[in-house]
């Protein structure tokens, strides 16, 4: 069977060309071959054998934000509709929350689960590692399939048309449709197809619209009122995981704009966040940076 296909569809996650090629502070990311957030995470954590607690979150963040910027630029250049950027931003949220959870879980003292919350974090960590392992497992399975696919490509099945004397034996076709039915069928097949609704990735998120700008504002307010806070305190009132994620994203953005600083007293201590007083951070301006997605994550 000849699987004729005009072209290979490129990987669905656009990988910006050579983002972060140059080595910066021992941190080097070649995003060329990445295929989604889990690839990036695996690359960061397994390939480079980074202990998540030793990874400065800010550095990782910068890499991701650079990645997003490349995407936005690429999207603007190609004049695409920004769906890709929205997709990637959503994926970025997955990475961000996964990284955060990993880090938070790693920061917990081992064997000392003080309360229910700690226990949940540990569980979350196990799940996240399991997810990464699963992803890796499928990558390996794909390798097997790829090898088979290539090896089998060297063989061609015999699939020839029926010899005329046997074709002549076939029962005479009964045609049950006329030209109009045929036209209707052709019209249906040739009609532009609506893109299938994407049912990806946000099914587990709940709540109304959450914007990075709004969350940045509420973080600013909270820090102004109470000074230095741990991340757990910043998200203590979050009604849904989505808000935690967006708040985390807002923090990354604020850090990038030098509006806040992170501090960690000791290796297993909490991550403390404080406002940099002299910064000219404008929460509303964040909106522009995430234009592709409207700076907003919709729950649908």
């Amino acid at each position: 069977m000849s699987a004729t296909l005009s072209e290979e569809t490129a990987t669905e996650s656009t990988t910006p060309a050579e983002a972060g090629q140059e080595s910066a502070g021992g941190f080097r990311l070649a995003l060329q071959n990445f295929n989604g957030p889990f690839d990036v995470l695996l690359h960061l954590i397994t390939k480079r054998e980074l202990d998540i607690t030793e990874v400065a979150l800010a550095e990782v963040t910068d890499e991701f934000i650079a990645y997003l910027r490349e995407l936005q630029a690429a999207s603007a250049e190609s004049g695409s509709d920004g769906m890709k950027v929205l997709d990637e931003t959503t994926e970025f949220l997955v990475v961000a929350s996964t990284l955060l959870d990993l880090k938070a879980a790693r920061l917990l003292p081992r064997g000392e689960m003080a309360d229910e919350e700690d226990f949940e974090l540990l569980e979350a960590r196990d799940l996240l590692f399991a997810r990464l392992l699963q992803y890796k497992a499928f990558k390996q399975a794909a390798e097997f399939l790829g090898e088979r696919y290539t090896a089998e490509g060297a063989r061609h099945p015999r699939e020839v048309s029926l010899e005329p004397q046997f074709a002549a034996l076939l029962p005479e076709l009964v045609f049950t449709i006329g030209p109009d039915a045929l036209a209707a069928m052709a019209a249906k097949a040739l009609a532009p197809k609506p893109e299938p609704a994407t049912e990806v990735g946000i099914g587990h998120l709940h709540g109304a619209n959450v914007t990075i700008a709004e969350e940045a504002e509420s973080i600013t307010a909270l820090l102004e009122a109470r000074g230095t806070l741990a991340f757990t305190e910043l998200v203590a009132d979050a009604p849904a995981q989505l808000v935690v994620v967006v708040r985390f994203l807002a923090l990354l953005e604020m850090f990038r704009q030098k509006a806040i600083s992170f501090a960690q007293q000791d290796p297993l201590g909490p991550l403390l966040i404080s406002l940099i007083q002299e910064s000219s951070f404008d929460a509303q301006a964040v909106q522009d940076d995430y234009e592709g997605s409207g700076g907003e994550v919709n729950h649908e």
């Binding site: 015999r158 030209p179 019209a187 532009p192």
Partner: protein
């Protein structure tokens, strides 16, 4: 042409090489074409083909297949001695009706001919190799004399197709637009080629 061709370095040599190509060939292949493929003189190919043909006819036992030379070249066929069994295989489960998939594929070919299998697949969103073969066997479509981009085989409908649908010519195929109210750009649907 060198004395030792690449095929001579493989176990089985030219004869096995010829078997490999002919096993997947749907239409008869000329010895000249085979000579090109294997980079050996045509006379050598012709001799090897004769050898194979007589080997199949009975060195050990008559094979179930035979290598026959027809006007345009050589092709594997099933041996006539076993025609009863082959017929019962061919007729098993055959119906007088075309499947829905075959009809849809026929409709796409009718309105987009000449068209390649790749493009039909892209339009229908499924692999159409087997239904295209059915339509060929049934004589409703045939290969277009010229190849498309990248050497793809193109297909067109036949006279028999027009007869079966009661049409005098392809111009009598109904326009598509009335069948899709609500599609804004009906003109382009009727005329433009599908973008795959």
């Amino acid at each position: 042409m060198s004395e030792i061709a690449p095929i001579d370095r493989l176990p089985g040599g030219l004869e096995s090489g010829l078997e490999a190509v002919l096993m997947v060939a749907d239409i008869p292949v000329s010895s000249a074409r085979l000579a090109e493929i294997f980079e050996v003189p045509t006379a050598r190919v012709a001799a090897a083909l004769e050898n194979l043909a007589s080997e199949y006819d009975g060195k050990d036992r008559p094979r179930g297949f035979e290598l026959r030379r027809v006007a345009s070249g050589w092709r594997f066929y099933s041996r006539a001695d076993y025609a009863d069994f082959v017929s019962s295989y061919v007729l098993d489960g055959q119906t007088a009706r075309l499947s829905q998939a075959a009809l849809e594929t026929l409709a796409v070919i009718a309105y987009r001919q000449p068209v390649s299998r790749g493009r039909i697949s892209a339009i229908r969103g499924v692999n159409v190799d087997s239904v295209v073969r059915t339509l060929l066997t049934r004589g409703l479509i045939t290969e277009y004399p010229e190849v498309g981009d990248g050497g793809a085989t193109l297909y067109q409908t036949t006279e028999y197709f027009l007869e079966r649908l009661g049409l005098g010519s392809l111009d009598e195929l109904p326009a598509l637009s009335p069948y899709l109210p609500g599609v804004a750009d009906l003109e382009s649907l009727d005329s433009a080629t599908y973008d795959d």
